[in-house]
Structure formats: C-alpha cells, structure tokens
Amino acid sequence: MIASENELRTMMIASQDGDAPAYRHLLTALRPRLEIFYRRRVHDGSAAEDLVQEALMAIHIKRDTFDPGQPFTPWVYGIARYKLLDYYRRHHKHQSVPLDGIAEFIGEADHGFAAADARMDLGRLMQDLPAAQSRAVQLTKLEELSVAEAAEKTQSGTSAVKVNVHRGLKALIAKFQKSEAENV
C-alpha cells in the first residue's frame, strides 16, 4: 500500500520529535518510491541503489529542515532530485538529464512520485493481462516503440501486435475503472 501525503507528513513530524517507530515507517514507505525514481532515471542498477541510500541518508541528516507547515512530498522530492542532479554532475552527464528532469527544474514535476505510483499501479494491473497483450502494450505504449519495431521484437506480425495492443488497452481500461470504483 502506498502511503498518502498526509500520512507521510504526519510520520515526518513525529520523526522530527524523535518517534523512532514512526521514522522507521516513514523510511520504509519512502524506500520503494526512491527505488522507482532512481531506477527509471539511472540505468546502472548499483548506482541507482547507491543513490537510494544517499537520499535516505540525506533525508536523515537534513530532517530538521522540514517545515511542518509545508507539504512533505515537495521536500522529499527536492532531496531525491537534488541527489540525482548531483549524480549527473559527478558523472558529467549534463547532456543526458531527461526531459522530465528539465520540467522538474522549473518546478512543474513535483508530482513525479505520483507518476511513479501510477506506473506501479499500471504494472500491477498489467500482470493480470495475457502475456502477449501485456508485452504488446508494454513495448508500444510504455517504451514507445513503433508497431513495426514491436512486431520485430516479439517475432510476430504487425497486425497481431495491433490486435494485442487494442485488446490489452481495452482490458486495462476496464480493470482500471473497476479498481477506481473499489477505491472510492
């Protein structure tokens, strides 16, 4: 289960007051988010794990800088993004800052974690699809390959890919609506 902004913020405020169990909950809830955030942006798996640990340590060392009057997500996202930019700087990867990184720079992507959560939800829903459909959707919609490229990768025909994408998306939408209805 993914903790909401309010829950995280409450845990953070308790952590600042020295509540160790709340702090453990908080860090445990943040870890998978950080993992998704860095793995999506850093292809070297061990570097991504290093970044997760660095971010957790930064959250720890700088925990007095959180202002309880402010929302928590921008604070933690600010640290996560700062550590990522720091990593790019150290590896002289100035050119390869992803597009959404630039959007983050101008302050429009404070919802980065929400997007990561949505992606996780999508991943969960896609697990229930037939393998061929899920793979077709994955390749054409998430990895943004063309139908022809996807066909080559799955060693099937273009029409088969198209049918699988169509059926897969239709099933996903139905599942999504169902899970939304359950969550209300």
Binding site: S15, Q16, D17, G18, D19, A20, Y23, R24, L27, T28, R31, Q53, L56, M57, A58, H60, K62, R63, D64, T65, F66, D67, P68, Q70, P74, W75, V76, Y77, G78, I79, R81, Y82, D86, G107, D110
Partner: protein
C-alpha cells in the same frame, strides 16, 4: 523485511530543532551588519555623513534606506524558503523587479522636473564607481556568512538560493554604505545602488551553484 541502513538510521533517534535554519539566518543578519560596518570602516576614504542629523529629515534618505533594506528583506525571506529542500521563492526575482520599477518611475518623474543641464550630475553623481565597488566589497563578506548558514540547511535550487543570498547581502551592504554616501538623488539610487546590489546577486547566483553544494 529488515533493511540495515534503515535500522541504523532509526536507532537512537533524537528530536531535532526545526527552527535551526531560521535562527542561523537571523543571526547572519546581525553578524552581517557588524561585519559589513567593520569592512566599511576599513575601506579607504570611508565617511559617515557629517550631516547625518540633517539627512534623516529628508525623504530621499528614507527612500534610499527603504530601497536597500527592502531588497535585503526580500533576499532574507526568500532564503528562509530556499534553504530547505524543494523550497522555492519566485518573489526573489519578481519583487526586486517590481520595487525597482517603482523607483524608476519616481526617478523618471523627478527627471522631468530637473533642468536638462543637471541631468548628468543628477544620475552620475560624483561617486558612481565608488558606490558600486564599495557596495560589492562590503557585501561579499556578508554573503560569505550567509553561504555558510544556507549550506548547513539543504538548498536544492542552488543558483536561485545563491541569487537570494547575494540579494540579502547586497541589500545589507548597500544599507550600510547608504549611511555614509552623500548622494541623495533618486536617479543615482535607481542606477548605481541597484547596480551594486544586482552585481552582488549575480555573483551569488554564479558562485552559489558550486559553493552551496552539500
């Protein structure tokens, strides 16, 4: 599932002081005023206006004081945001622009009532270069103090935080310099004081990208 890092971070957790950054920044203002006054004292040809008792009765003296101290306050309050992760302060750019435009408007109006022959003197004064360099020289050590405090927070927009640091330090430095500066025309203020403070701000923005890393 147990995570060794989380185990070690949560062990022996101590309450933290949330007001630490705020206190440090406030301390910087006081220490900055003292340090700036000391630097001003050491600079060659310094002077406290001998007619300070008369000057304080003139509106232009207070306009000058309001302009420099106002920019210092904008920088200071922006830093309170920018020293924290994810903190932003668009006002650190917008407000100085608005304040300067207001000043420029007053300057333009007074320019109309000034005889054309006096325009050059009215804008250039007799201490223009000295004004800009002294404001920057007084402000840089103050900026150093602020950098230490901001770095011990956790700024995540370094250039912006550097700009706000320069603005706060430049505003404080210009306020100190203003107590001794004999120039009182609005035109001089809008050009040379503004230039001194903007220069300090830009130095802050460029150096902050490196010096504010934590």
């Amino acid at each position: 599932m147990s995570d060794p890092l989380i185990d070690s971070l949560t062990a022996d957790l101590k309450p933290v002081n949330r007001h630490r950054i705020g206190h440090r920044l406030a301390l910087c203002v006081i220490a900055g005023l003292i340090l700036g006054a000391a630097v001003f004292w050491l600079l060659p040809g310094r002077m406290i206006r001998s007619d300070l008792d008369i000057a304080v009765t003139e509106p232009n003296f207070w306009l000058k004081f309001g302009f420099t101290a106002g920019l210092a306050l904008v920088g200071y309050f922006s830093l309170r945001q920018l020293s924290r992760p994810g903190g932003d302060a668009p006002a650190a750019v917008r407000l100085p622009v608005a304040i300067w435009l207001g000043l420029a408007l007053i300057a333009a109006v007074s320019l109309i009532v000034t005889p054309v022959d006096n325009w050059t003197g009215w804008i250039l004064g007799s201490t223009a270069v000295r004004c800009v360099t002294y404001i920057v020289l007084i402000s840089l050590p103050i900026m150093g103090l602020f950098f230490i405090a901001v770095r011990r927070g956790a700024p995540t927009r370094l250039a912006m935080a550097g700009w706000a640091t320069g603005l706060a330090a430049g505003g404080i430095g210009a306020t100190i310099y203003g107590l001794g500066c004999p120039e009182s025309s609005v035109g001089f203020l809008a050009v040379w004081y503004a230039l001194g403070i903007i220069s300090t701000g830009l130095i802050g923005a460029f150096t902050g990208r490196h010096l504010l890393r934590w």
